[in-house]
Amino acid sequence: MLRIVAALTAALACIVLAEASRADETCNSPYTTQLIKGQEDYVYVWTLGVDGLGDGSDKLATVDVHPKSQSYGKVVHTVSVGSRGEAHHMGFTDDRRFLWAGGLAEAKIFVFDIASDPAKPRLANTITDLADKTGYLGPHTYYALPGRMLVQALSNTKDKGGVTGMALYNNKGEFIASYAMPTDGGGDGYGYDLAVNPRKNVLLTSSFTGYANYMRPLGELIKDAEAMKRFGNTMVVWDLKAMKPKQILSVPGAPLEIRWSLNPRDNWAVTAAALTSKIWLVKPNAKGEWQAKEVATIGDPAKIPLPVDISITRDGKGLWVNTFMDGKTRYFDLSHPEAPRQTYERVTGKQVNMISQSWDGKRVYITSSLLANWDKGGDDNEQFLRGFAWDGRELKPAFEVDFAKDKLGRAHHMKLGSKALRAAR
C-alpha cells in the first residue's frame, strides 16, 4: 500500500490507453489495453498435462523470450492447476492484469494473476459454476469486454454435442448472463471463436464441434461419417450491444479463429475453415449486409492439411496460417483481402498448432499441440514452443523449448507478457 501511496503522491502523468490492441499481440480483444509494442519478455504457454509426464497436470509455463536475458529460451516458471482437463485457450482481462484459461474436457475456468509478478503468474481464482449456470461445457475463447469477460463454450453438459453458447462474467469471476448460439434461421448452435469490431458494434462468432467429437481420437472420428456431419458450418453476426444474433452466414467446414483487420479504415474479418482448408472473408456488401466469401485455398484440401490457427499482422496486410497435418507455417499477402495470395511457407514442426506474433511482426512463436487425442503419435508427437525471427522473407529459428523433454506436457495456446506490466501493489 505504501508503494501505491508513493506512486499516487508523485507527479502523475495521465496516460489514457484508449483504442488499443487487437493482435497476439495482434489478436487480443480490442478492449485489452497495455499492448506490448516493443520487445516482449515472456511467452505464457497454456500446456495440457500428460499422464506420467511431470505432475501430469495442466499448467501455465512462463518462457523467457527476451534475447538479452540470461534465461532466454528457457522456462522460468510453471504453475500447475493440479488436474488435467484438456487445457486449450486463454485470454487477458481488459486491464491485462489477469489471464483466464480453461480446458475443453471440463467446465472450469482458471484465472491467473499476471500483474503482481509477470514472470511468475499465480492461480488467483478458479471459476466452477459455468456448467451450473449455463449448461455449457468446454470453455474455449476468453474475450475481454470493459470490466467483464465473454466466454465462448464448445459443448454442453446434456448431450456433449456441439450446441452451446456464451457466458458473461465480470472481472471478479461472478456470473452475469448467458447467450445461446442460435439454432433457428439457419443457425447450427455451434460455437468456437468470437471477435468484436467495436466501431461497428459487431460481434462475430464461428463454429466447431462438441465434446463427443473433439475428445475422440482423430483417426477414429474421421472414419465415422455420421460424427463428421456434426461440425459447425456457420458464422453468426451479432449486435454486440444487444447481444442478439442478426445474421447467420454459411461457412462450411468448421470456421475457427476469427481475425478482424486492425486497420481502422478496414471493416472486414477473416477466418479459416479447418475441414475444407479455405480462407473466408467476412465483410458487408454495398447495402451494409454482412456476407461471407471464400477467398483462398490453403495447401491441398484433398490432403486435409487442417488449418488450425491464423494470426493477422497489425496493418491487416498479412496472415500467418498454421496447418497441423503437414506441419507447415504459411504466410498470405492480404493486401487484397478479396484475393489472399500465399507468398511463403516452411515446415516448422512435425505437427504445429498455434501461431502468435509480436506487435511489430518480427518475432513469431509456434506451438505443437492441437488436442490430446488429435495429436500425432510416436516420433511425430513433438511438443514444443519454437521462436522464429521474421524479416519479411524468411522464418529463422531463434530458440526452442522441448515440452516433452522438460516434462511439461503438450504446448498449446500462447500469450505474451512483459515485465513492464507489473501492477502497482
Binding site: 500500500m1 501505491i4 501511496v5 508513493a6 506512486a7 499516487l8 503522491t9 508523485a10 507527479a11 502523475l12 502523468a13 495521465c14 496516460i15 489514457v16 490507453l17 484508449a18 483504442e19 480490442p30 478492449y31 489495453t33 497495455q34 516493443g38 481488459d94 486491464d95 491485462r96 492484469r97 500483474a115 469486454l145 470493459p146 470490466g147 467483464r148 458473461l168 465480470n170 472481472n171 471478479k172 461472478e174 452475469i176 448472463a177 467495436p198 466501431r199 461497428k200 458494434n201 459487431v202 449486435d239 450491444k241 444487444a242 447481444m243 442478439k244 515485465k419 513492464a420 506490466l421 507489473r422 501492477a423 502497482a424
Partner: protein, 228 residues
C-alpha cells in the same frame, strides 16, 4: 412512466440528430458514432456488479459515503485527474458529459433523474478546493442534471473504490533503468449505475458517445417504469 420515458427518449434522440457536433470545453468535436445503436428498451443491460462504497470528500470538504451518490438516481460516474490532458481520456469524458447534460436539459421528464459524478484518481493533488476550481460552472446539485465532483482523503481510501470499479492502476517501467516510473496509467472507463447501485454498463472510449449513453439511460428508465 413507460410512455413518458419513451417520449423523453425520442425527444433526446431527435435533438442529438439535429444538433451540431457536440463541443466541450476544448471545442474538439466528438467522434462520430459509426453504427446505429439498438433502440432503447429492445435490449437488456446486465447487472455487471454492485458499485463499491467508501468515504469520499465533496468540494466543501465534507466526508460522505460514495453510495449517497450512486443510489436513487441513474448515475454516470467517471474517474479523472485534474492534470489529465490526453484528448482520448478525461477531456473526452467531459465532452460526452457536457453533451448529455445539454440533451437532458431539453427533456423535462428526465430532470433530476440522472446525476453525474466525477471522482479524482489523485487525492494528493486533487483536494476539495482543487476539485471545486476544476469543476467551475459544472458544479451544481440543482438544475436538470446534478453534477458532483468528489475526491478522497488519501490513496488508502481511494484504492478500494478504484479496485471495486475495476479501474487499473499500475506503474510504468522505465526501460532505460528497469525501475518503475512514478506515473500512473489508467484506461478511460465511465460507469452507468442504476438506481439500486448496480453497474449496468461500462464505456470505454470506443463506446462512450452521447447517443449510446442516452439509449442506455432510456433503457434503464423503461425498465424502472415496467417494474412500477
Amino acid at each position: 412512466m413507460r410512455t413518458a420515458a419513451r417520449a423523453a427518449g425520442v425527444t433526446l434522440l431527435a435533438w442529438l440528430a439535429c444538433a451540431p457536433a457536440a463541443r466541450g470545453h476544448d471545442a474538439v468535436p466528438l467522434p462520430a458514432l459509426d453504427f446505429d445503436p439498438p433502440a432503447p428498451g429492445t435490449y437488456t443491460l446486465q447487472r455487471i456488479m454492485a458499485a463499491p462504497d467508501g468515504e469520499v470528500l465533496g468540494t466543501d470538504g465534507r466526508a460522505r459515503r460514495l453510495s449517497a451518490f450512486t443510489h436513487d438516481a441513474i448515475t454516470l460516474l467517471g474517474f479523472i485527474y485534474t492534470t489529465c490532458v490526453d484528448p482520448d481520456g478525461c477531456p473526452l469524458a467531459y465532452r460526452v458529459f457536457d453533451a448529455l447534460e445539454r440533451a437532458v436539459a431539453r427533456s423535462p421528464a428526465l430532470h433530476r433523474r440522472i446525476r453525474f459524478v466525477t471522482l479524482s484518481f489523485d487525492p494528493a493533488r486533487d483536494s476539495p478546493a482543487v476539485m471545486r476550481r476544476y469543476a467551475g460552472s459544472r458544479l451544481r446539485d440543482d438544475g436538470a442534471v446534478p453534477w458532483y465532483f468528489l475526491t478522497t482523503r488519501s490513496a488508502r481510501e481511494l484504492m478500494p473504490l478504484v479496485e471495486g470499479f475495476g479501474q487499473d492502476v499500475r506503474y510504468t517501467l522505465d526501460r532505460s533503468t528497469g525501475r518503475p516510473r512514478r506515473e500512473l496509467s489508467h484506461v478511460l472507463k465511465v460507469f452507468l449505475i442504476d438506481r439500486s447501485g448496480f453497474v449496468r454498463e461500462i464505456y470505454s472510449s470506443m463506446f462512450l458517445h452521447p447517443k449510446t449513453v442516452l439509449n442506455d439511460i432510456e433503457t434503464l428508465l423503461l425498465e424502472e417504469g415496467a417494474r412500477r
